[in-house]
């Protein structure tokens, strides 16, 4: 097992290298000029050229790539072209809000979606099943920002229970932290809940038709035990896989959610950086995201062994 984990961790290095090359090349080829953005709309062409030179953007591709890789190898993600702040500092400023948003969404989604899917499978064909599946369709169909505006209208402006926007760091207290994140998490969680609920239902339906479930029933096991101990554990592998894959949805959705609720997270940092062509920040954030994906996949693979003892690495 430990050898497997080590192998997988080491395998992230070539993956990251490919990602780095790909991201750098794409940004190099993409149109756009940070010097023009920095110089402002009223700048003269000469100003833009001087700024481009001062940023080193007039250097050849290989020189720039080599310098960047050299910095990365020494643990330096570079400095933002615009803010003049280290990219690592900018990422550090933004990690907590995004992590908080994603974790709370994940917890909410799993704790709502898995029971929903299980119950829908148990009550297959009934009104309950149809209601759950109807909710799932709605969750897939309604964009995050529409849900966000609706929630803000009802719970912030109409009822005045929660704030419209912003983020309070966890160190300032659990409830202030939670207060700012409830609405965004629900808005962001809609798609995720729908996805997990549907997969849970489908997998549970398959498992509930197995012989050992019939045997458990014949032996007099209670319904909850059958559903949540015998069936759910055996249905867990695909569900866990979907939860992991769904992290991609979360990070994508976080961009919109962070904008709607003015949360200073990594999603907004990425979008701002892309619009301004702040290359070091884009490269740093994409590398971070790819690293997180690799780790999440590793974590999921390891979780398989918990739910299915037949799996060995």
């Amino acid at each position: 097992m430990w050898a497997y984990i080590l192998r997988r961790v080491l395998a992230t290095i070539p993956v990251m290298a490919v990602v780095a090359l790909f991201v750098f090349s794409l940004l190099y080829l993409a149109p756009g000029d940070p010097a023009a953005v920095i110089a402002g709309d009223q700048a003269t062409p000469d100003d833009v050229e001087r700024i481009r030179a001062s940023l080193g953007l007039d250097r050849p591709y290989l020189v720039r790539f080599g310098a960047w890789v050299g910095d990365i190898m020494s643990g330096d993600l570079g400095t933002s072209i615009f803010t003049n702040l280290p990219v690592s500092t900018m990422i550090a400023q933004r990690v907590e809000p995004t992590l908080s948003l994603c974790l709370l969404t994940l917890v909410l989604a799993v704790s709502i979606a898995v029971p929903m899917g299980v119950v829908a499978a148990w009550k297959q064909g009934t009104l309950v099943d149809r209601a759950v599946m109807g909710f799932a369709v709605l969750g897939f169909s309604v964009p995050v920002f529409v849900v966000g505006y609706l929630l803000a209208y009802v719970f912030a402006l109409e009822l005045d229970w929660l704030p419209v926007q912003g983020y309070t760091p966890f160190r300032e207290g659990f409830f202030p932290w939670l207060e700012n994140l409830i609405l965004p998490s629900i808005a962001l969680g809609g798609v995720y809940i729908a996805l997990i609920a549907r997969i849970t239902r489908a997998t549970m339906l398959e498992v509930l038709g197995q012989d050992y479930i019939r045997t458990a029933r014949a032996k007099g096991a209670n319904q909850a035990g059958i559903l949540f101990v015998h069936a759910l554990k055996n249905a867990a592998v695909p569900i866990v896989t979907v939860i992991g894959i769904g992290l991609a949805l979360l990070i994508g959705g976080a961009v919109v959610t962070e904008s709607v609720f003015a949360i200073p997270g990594l999603g907004r940092l990425t979008v701002d950086a892309i619009l301004r062509r702040d290359y070091p920040v884009i490269q740093g954030v994409v590398l971070l995201f790819s690293f997180v994906y690799v780790l999440v996949n590793l974590l999921i693979d390891l979780l398989y062994t918990l739910f299915d003892p037949r799996i060995r690495y």
């Binding site: 709309d41 615009f82 209208y153 402006l157 926007q165």
Partner: protein, 529 residues
């Protein structure tokens, strides 16, 4: 459903019918929470000339002079000045008691270093530098500027609000290459920049500087006493206007710099929110024609556009049906300012003549070659102008290659002088703050000096002649005469196409007082109850 309807509907969803006041949540009367027009992505007002940087910079750095609401420069850091009888030597004396935020006194050598850095980046500064013989500190509070010939607009240059403004920094910071960003944010303005609370894209904080000694005169734009009535000014960056609107209604922020026109009816229904024009100098919409390549290298093709275009179409696309927010602009300068004139403006204010425009276009030799139109879709103002222009060009019978992209791409491509077929362009869109268009001093877009001109590179000696006449004008009447000639020459040769004059709104909570209309959201004098 178009953008305006959609945003309006979204915001209405988020707030319509909420007549009941939302209580401010933990609002602190000593903290002013402000939503700026854009993200403060960098903070060097010489290196980065975006308006949002300038607006933040006026809190942190002070200037020698500052314009008032009559656009007249008034003394600010300066106690007095003397000019020699030949107009070539200026001697300035600083006020007593000026201190930087690190408690070091402001000395003349700081001013000299700051002006030297500013001159390298500012159009007026460059003109002064070209005739400068000497700029030296005479003693701690006195500096002298010797020129090879008189420069009548000296005080205006030092007090203007156009970016880059002539801010004063400590010498060690001002010695930074003007094309490199500063790393320290020490000024002598009314607020300190709280760097460790700066989260670019989210938040910027300014703390009142107790060592600031305001002038005794009443505040008037950049002139007079800059008295901070609150301890902190917190900028909250909100990219989504609907969120900013809801936050203002909910009392989570106090002041929104650029309330979206579509959301103004909603804000007006909230009795805790006040809405008013933000900047009486407004903005001038513009599309730039590339003077280097066909068809717009021929003045007849450019004139055809002026004859056919309807400013009303552009303005309605920009600001909707609110008639108070726009007016036709038969010229290039800001309405309501001393030098405004409509000389030669009949081509815009007269009846539209599409047939004559088509005939003139044919006469120019236009042969259906593609016209490359760049429009940044992530900027609503440029997007709207792009949509209207594409329709106009098609009605004129032109073959349009509409490149709808983002601002980062437009910013790069507009600098290319290649033919449109080789990565260049024919038309792109912009807008100019009215404060920049009151005269030619900071109005780069009106210049027509070929390679030295703004993108599009017009080369029209008649326009440049009038600009020079304005700079050298000894009195207001001479300035007015030069400006009339300039407006006519610029229209006859179509330096660019003005699409109209438009205003924008700002909004604030009713417990906030002291908000003034101006080209910058001036935080001094603003208080909360």
């Amino acid at each position: 459903m178009d953008r305006r309807t959609f945003i309006g509907a979204g915001a209405a969803l988020a707030a319509t019918g909420i007549a009941a006041p939302a209580l401010s949540q933990g609002a602190n009367a000593r903290t002013l929470r402000f939503v700026p027009q854009a993200n403060l992505a960098n903070f060097d007002p010489i290196w980065g000339t975006q308006y949002v940087v300038r607006n933040a910079a006026v809190l942190v750095w002070d200037t020698l002079y500052g314009i008032d609401d009559k656009l007249v420069p008034q003394r600010q850091m300066v106690e007095g000045e003397e000019v020699s009888s030949d107009g070539r030597t200026w001697t300035f004396r600083l006020r007593e008691g000026l201190r930087f935020h690190d408690n070091e006194p402001v000395r003349a050598r700081d001013v000299v270093a700051s002006l030297t850095r500013w001159m390298a980046r500012d159009p007026m500064g460059l003109m002064i530098r070209a005739i400068q013989q000497e700029l030296v500190a005479v003693d701690d509070r006195t500096f002298r500027w010797v020129l090879s010939r008189p420069y009548p607009k000296m005080l205006y240059a030092l007090g203007k609000n156009n970016a880059p403004m002539a801010f004063v920094m400590p010498e060690r910071i001002a010695r930074t290459d003007p094309f490199q960003q500063i790393t320290e944010h020490i000024g002598s303005g009314p607020c300190r920049f709280v760097r460790n609370e700066w989260v670019p894209g989210a938040r910027a904080v300014f703390q009142r500087f107790d060592g600031y000694v305001p002038r005794q005169e009443a505040p008037n734009w950049l002139a007079g006493g800059k008295r901070m009535m609150v301890d902190r000014v917190e900028w909250a960056i909100m990219p989504d206007p609907a969120t900013a609107s809801s936050a203002l209604q909910n009392g989570e922020v106090d002041w929104w710099e650029n309330a979206l026109t579509d959301l103004v009816p909603l804000l007006r229904r909230n009795r805790n929110v006040q809405v008013d024009i933000a900047d009486p100098l407004g903005n001038i919409g513009a599309f730039r024609l590339n003077h280097l390549h066909p068809p717009f290298n021929d003045v007849r093709a450019r004139r055809a556009i002026l004859m056919a275009m309807s400013q009303e179409d552009y303005m309605r696309a920009l600001v909707g049906s609110d008639e108070a927010l726009w007016k036709r602009l038969p010229g290039f300068f800001t309405p309501g300012t001393p030098l405004y004139n409509e000389e030669g403006g009949e081509v815009i204010s007269g009846p539209r003549n599409m047939d004559a425009a088509r005939a003139l276009l044919r006469e120019s030799g236009y042969a259906n070659q593609p016209v490359t139109v760049l429009a940044a879709q992530d900027q609503p103002i440029t997007k709207a102008q792009g949509d209207v222009t594409v329709d106009l060009l098609r009605r004129l019978g032109m073959n349009v290659d509409f490149v709808a992209t983002d601002w980062g791409t437009v910013g790069q491509r507009r600098a290319m002088k290649n033919p449109p077929s080789a990565g260049g362009w024919n038309i792109f869109f912009s807008w100019h703050a009215g404060a920049d268009c009151t005269n030619p001093a900071a109005y780069t877009a009106i210049r027509a000096n070929g390679d030295g001109a703004w993108f599009g590179w017009p080369n029209i000696p008649a326009v440049e002649q009038k600009v020079t006449e304005w700079f050298e004008a000894p009195d207001l009447e001479a300035e007015k005469a030069a400006m009339r000639g300039l407006n006519r020459a610029a229209l006859e040769n179509v330096v660019y196409v003005p699409t109209g004059f438009f205003l924008g709104y700002q909004a604030w909570r009713r417990n906030v007082s002291g908000v003034v209309k101006g080209p910058i959201p001036f935080a001094w004098g603003v208080s909360k109850s």
